[in-house]
Subunit: 239 residues, 2 copies
């Protein structure tokens, strides 16, 4: 099950075209984060996809928008130091390796700015749609369509899939914040490295596609196992 | 080498978005058939693809627009009785099976009407982009992008390709018109079946991707071999 989340979309025509892309490829769940209300202009480009727009859910923040999903894949055109990304084809393969009942969110940022580092933290994985040159980047609705099309075209493997379903994003988020809290208490994380270390934690443990079992182990490790924070976390230090 | 040909495009924003799709995927040759002049509105959506628009060539008719190409693949959303089509993935595979110096045109019709039967005759092959439901069809620029993306992504086989290069479209056209003329002279083709038989000829012999050798053989067959037109062409008759 796939949902498309647009973070702070600016251009209503793009929202309409994105809705049309969902309809073209048989998907229905559109979520809009950081948007107060949907402009009527969006309906102009949502040819035969008005229902998707009518049912699109508006969320104040991105965290709320992805809270009930299991996994979030964020599209990024720019290379991010703290959030490595994979090519679209690899991301699609990864998405399809999870059981079909996994609720997967496809996250796309604002047309001009892309996703902020803060917004990236709401994702488990990042992907980049290959392009011929640095400029122009793909139009927002085009990026949505290029991502949905191979998911629509791919036949999902019929047999059982070897993965356990991940926790809902809200539970993954809560766990990662707890880990960040522990590291803060133990003074591994502080004013000077907080942003960097937080990004690292969200990237590193996001990629786990954390299950209940993973969470228990992780928290156990952090609560009990981490007695000498500065030494045992040397891998997290900025080189 | 790929060229994108838009036949009678109506919406300048779509032309701009199509130009951007070419830029995204590293293609440059955009041709506009049946368009008198390019509206400045097209430049609004052609973000960082202005050069492609500036260099886009305008042609009065479609035949002139494709005359120097070797092969034309036409996109069609609707099923055409006289012009069978293949799925996009198969078309892409076919395109890539020709030597890389083959000049291949990707033809897209008007937003509302699609390609007319007459326009279809300028193509060798037809393809359809799979979609979830009959409605909505893909937006024009989206169809262009979905077609170019796998061509950009695909690595062309390095070794020699087993195909001979086809004739230029103008020579294929001339040959097919000559065949139509012969059939008309021999009264196989007449007022009542002209449209149907012409479509059939353009579909059937278009799919040959006609080389010089093919043309010689075909014309020889039609000039000399066809002595009893009504009998030997029974396969062409409408059932």
């Amino acid at each position: 099950m796939f949902s498309v989340i647009l973070a702070r979309p600016e251009n209503p025509e793009n929202i309409g075209l994105a809705a049309r892309a969902l309809a073209n490829t048989g998907f229905r769940d559109l979520r809009l984060a950081g948007l107060r209300r949907l402009s009527v202009k969006a309906f102009r480009t949502a040819v035969h996809a008005e229902e998707i727009l009518n049912k699109a859910r508006l969320f104040k923040g991105l965290e709320e928008a992805v809270a009930d999903l299991h996994l979030v894949f964020a599209a990024t055109a720019r290379w991010r130091t703290n959030f490595p990304s994979m090519p679209l084809a690899e991301a699609v393969e990864k998405m399809l390796s999870f059981p079909s009942s996994t609720r997967i969110g496809l996250l796309f940022g604002n047309e001009r700015t892309g996703l902020t580092s803060e917004e990236m933290r709401s994702s488990n994985f990042r992907f980049t749609i290959p392009q011929a040159a640095r400029q122009p980047s793909y139009n927002l609705a085009s990026a949505v369509l290029l991502t949905l099309f191979p998911l629509f075209s791919a036949a999902r493997p019929a047999g059982p899939v070897p993965f356990e379903k991940p926790l809902a994003r809200r539970d993954q988020d809560a766990c990662l914040r707890r880990i960040a809290g522990i590291l803060e208490d133990r003074e591994f994380m502080h004013e000077a490295n907080r942003r960097y270390v937080t990004d690292m934690i969200f990237d590193l443990f996001g990629r786990l596609a954390m299950t209940e079992k993973d969470r228990r182990l992780l928290l156990a490790v952090f609560y009990k196992g981490v007695t000498e924070p500065k030494r045992s976390f040397c891998v997290l230090k900025k080189r």
